[in-house]
């Protein structure tokens, strides 16, 4: 069997399983089902990437999904330290969460629609079709809730805050994000030595006077 044929079969199989994912509102998955769906989503995404075709969203329409991709990358773009929100798989994460936890479906779908209407009013086209400067002009108006409210754009602000929160969760909890933010835990440590000197100095605190509690001969001290 050729390599192409193999990947075609696994791709088809993955998409087939994804097709069985409960898309109706109100259905929540067991941990095992979710893990399986995630695995298949990852496989499908990988297969799609290999074949240079797009990931098929389960909740969003293609148009909505394209808009979401632009939005999340405007929220958390690539910089010198790490990749962008789409590099970290944020759109796939949001799509998954909306199927898994349907309570926000309307807010997201309606918010995207609000955004397109606003763009249409201002620029005569949908958000995805706008020029970069036009897109940021809208964001400048809705990304700071206080400012947005003063301009009568509180619905846009509410939607944007929701997308920002989902983007932040999806990005910072990804491998890319965890490495970027400098979380250094989740490793077995043979002993606990407290805070290092550089932290103590920066905070202006020390262990002086606490020797009675933390004897140096003790394990873990």
């Amino acid at each position: 069997m050729s390599e192409t044929a193999m990947s075609e079969i696994s791709r088809r199989k993955a998409l087939q399983v994804l097709g069985t994912v409960p898309a109706a509102a109100g259905i929540s998955w067991t941990g095992a089902e979710a893990a399986q769906a995630h695995q298949h989503a990852e496989q499908a995404r990988q297969a799609a990437a290999d074949e240079k075709t797009a990931y098929e969203p389960k909740f969003f329409t293609k148009a909505e999904y394209a808009t979401l991709g632009i939005l999340v990358d405007l929220i958390l773009p690539a910089d010198e330290r790490s990749g962008s929100a789409t590099d970290a798989g944020v759109p796939e994460f949001i799509d998954f969460m909306l199927v898994d936890q349907p309570t926000r479906q309307t807010a997201l779908r309606g918010g995207l629609r609000w955004l397109d209407r606003e763009c249409d009013t201002r620029f005569g086209k949908a958000f995805a079709a706008c020029a970069a400067a036009e897109q940021t002009a809208i964001l400048d108006d809705i990304a700071w809730p206080e400012k947005a409210e003063a301009k009568g754009l509180s619905h846009g602000a509410r939607f944007f805050s929701l997308v920002r929160d989902l983007t932040a969760t999806g990005f910072w909890s990804s491998k890319v994000g965890v490495e970027d933010i400098g979380y250094l835990g989740n490793v077995p440590a043979p002993k606990w030595t407290g805070a290092p000197d550089e932290v103590l100095q920066k905070l202006g605190v020390s262990y002086d006077g606490l020797e009675k509690w933390y004897r140096p001969t003790d394990a873990g001290a």
């Binding site: 941990g31 979710a34 893990a35 995630h38 989503a41 405007l74 929220i75 958390l76 910089d79 994460f93 998954f96 969460m97 898994d100 936890q101 990304a143 809730p145 206080e146 400012k147 944007f160 805050s161 920002r164 932040a168 969760t169 999806g170 910072w172 909890s173 990804s174 491998k175 965890v178 970027d180 933010i181 400098g182 979380y183 250094l184 835990g185 989740n186 490793v187 440590a189 043979p190 002993k191 606990w192 030595t193 407290g194 805070a195 550089e198 932290v199 103590l200 920066k202 905070l203 202006g204 605190v205 262990y207 606490l210 509690w213 933390y214 004897r215 003790d218 394990a219 873990g220 001290a221």
Partner: protein, 570 residues
């Protein structure tokens, strides 16, 4: 309906496999008794089923738990405040949130491991301030069993009574405590300025090897279940030695329906539903020990009616279900500018706080009785679901935004929050109790509990004091309080009853059979071979968490059962 009846008669049947049930199984099998241990949930093995070292991105939900896992997807406890098929009801306008676990080991799989030995005053509060009732035993009666738990289960902490002068925080037998994290030292500095004691926490996590269990490896994930058995849970500490005796039979998926009794008023066994196939089964036993959780044990007794006990087994006093108590809970968070832009360090430590504040104020100087301890939190935790949500409202931030500047803002503000949680003593009151709902049953047809619950001004004033104190600490740290002030009409921020998951008091002990269900050995006044080993026998709460005390009492009760069983006197 066909009922399967086992021909074997066990020496002891224990209902519930958590702290109390696990301890009873340990002590009684060691004493030579044949024990059947009923658990309503499934077996659970931390090695296979635990989530230690998983990353948020190992899951498509990134740690989101939902209704089924209210403490997050990786939490080691199967259960929650709402469970399909197992409803409970509340009196109109009242609220009690009932957390149930359904798995081997129950809630010990994810509890906070905060293990605060109660002091002499905690057993004689009525003698001090006239409120509630005194216990039928004193601290000296229970002290040897606290010592047993310290030695056998293991606990870190330090003896500070002579240094702090807090005589109601007795010394224990402690392993070395872990040094404070950076932000904890900052909190301690503020507390020092305010003359609030801040001392090493007391938690049942090993910092040195003990009884074949490894010392902590400081991943901070105690709540997920510990693969090296370095913290306390019933299935990793109590059940293995019990199983080793060859005397223990664990019966999972066994939802207890009723405690059976004979015409002489002796317990004869337990009937249960096998939840995997709905089969009704009865198990015979010489002695029955209830450790199903305070409310579940009360429910069992109330549902076990007979001509001799029309109000429920051992309940001719009518006290079963009464005096339901929880710990008080209230939290305040703050943003600490000093924590901005700290160097990246691993702050996991043990799964919880390294420092805490025991109750420190003389109540004679206050307008409320009893007190609370302070649990502290903060640090650079593993990013997961909900990470830094609502950044547009974060003090020290720019009120929203997007792009590279926003990305930088998340980095800058990560780990800059601290939190203070009040856990205090509620005084039992007549308005707080559970009873059998006259109409509603669960999916197995077992009548469910209906709850009545009310805070009093004693608790509200305590929460008010806590709010003031926590705000003062945050301000002394140079920080901004991020939790809004809660007024009297919001109970000064008190959480609803049951949220702290310290339910207790529904089958109280006492010397007077008319006013209590159990005697000083947690033995039913009216049914000599019936005992209770969970939080239900508690006469009062303390300003300290209750698990260490459940364990100590279960040990003492089980030792008494073993003596009586050997003498054939029950």
């Amino acid at each position: 309906m066909q009922v399967i009846e086992s021909s074997k008669e066990y020496d002891v049947i224990i209902v519930g496999s958590g702290a109390g049930g696990g301890m009873a199984a340990y002590v009684l099998t060691k004493a030579g008794a044949n024990v059947a241990l009923l658990e309503a949930g499934a077996l659970w093995d931390v090695a296979k089923d635990g989530a230690m070292f998983k990353w948020s991105y190992d899951s498509p939900r990134r740690g989101f738990g939902g209704k089924e896992k209210p403490f997050g997807e990786f939490d080691g406890c199967i259960g929650g405040w709402e469970m399909d098929g197992e409803p409970y009801t509340m009196a109109p306008g009242e609220r009690w949130d009932w957390f149930r676990a359904r798995m081997l080991g129950g809630r010990t799989n994810h509890w906070g491991r905060i293990s605060l030995r109660w002091g002499p005053d905690d057993f004689r509060r009525k003698g001090i301030d006239g409120l509630g009732d005194d216990w039928p035993i004193t601290y000296d009666d229970i002290k040897p069993y606290y010592d047993n738990c310290d030695r056998f289960i293991g606990i870190f902490g330090n003896n500070h009574a002579s240094e702090t002068g807090l005589h109601n925080e007795p010394d224990g037998i402690f392993q070395p405590p872990p040094k404070p994290r950076g932000y904890e030292l900052l909190i301690k500095d503020a507390c020092d300025k305010l003359k609030i004691p801040c001392v090493p926490a007391r938690m049942s996590i090993l910092t040195q090897p003990l009884n074949g269990r490894a010392a902590c490896h400081y991943c901070g994930q105690c709540g997920r279940g510990c693969g090296t058995h370095s913290n306390f849970s019933s299935p990793t500490v109590l059940l293995p030695p019990a199983e080793k005796t060859g005397k223990l039979t664990v019966v999972p998926h066994a939802m207890a329906r009723e405690v059976l009794s004979d015409d002489e008023g002796r317990a004869t066994g337990v009937s249960y539903v096998n939840t995997t196939n709905g089969q009704e089964t009865t198990l015979r036993g010489k002695i029955v020990v209830l450790a199903a959780s305070a409310c579940e044990s009360a429910r069992l007794l109330l549902n076990s009616t007979s001509p001799r006990f029309p109000k429920g087994l051992a309940n001719n006093s009518g006290v079963v279900g009464k005096y339901l108590i929880d710990s008080t809970g209230m939290s305040v968070s703050g943003f600490i500018p000093k924590l901005v832009d700290l160097p990246s360090v691993n702050e996991d430590g043990v799964g919880g706080m390294h420092l805490y504040t025991p109750w420190w104020v003389d109540n004679r100087k206050l307008d409320f009785p009893r007190g609370y301890h302070i649990e502290i939190g903060g640090g650079r935790r593993m990013p997961g679901y909900g990470f830094m949500g609502g950044i547009e409202e974060h003090p020290g931030g720019s009120g929203g935004g997007y792009g590279k500047a926003l990305k930088e803002e998340y980095r800058r503000l990560y780990g800059t929050g601290v939190g203070f949680a009040l856990r205090g003593e509620m005084i039992p009151n007549k308005d707080s109790y559970c009873e059998i709902d006259p109409e509603v049953v669960d999916q197995w047809g077992i009548p469910v509990l209906r709850f009545h619950f009310k805070w009093s001004d004693h608790e509200r004033k305590q929460a008010k004091h806590g709010q003031e104190t926590f705000r003062e600490i945050i301000q002394t740290m140079g920080g901004t309080v991020t939790t809004p002030w809660r007024d009297h009409d919001q109970d000064y921020g008190l959480e609803p009853g049951g949220r702290i998951i310290h339910e207790s008091g529904t089958i109280r002990m006492g010397n007077e059979p008319k006013a209590s269900v159990l005697n000083k050995y947690c033995q039913a006044h009216e049914v000599p071979n019936l005992f209770v080993c969970d939080g239900a026998p508690f006469v009062s709460q303390a300003d300290k968490n209750l698990t260490w005390t459940i364990l100590a009492f279960a040990w003492r009760t089980s030792e008494y059962i073993a003596e009586q069983w050997k003498k054939r006197s029950i």
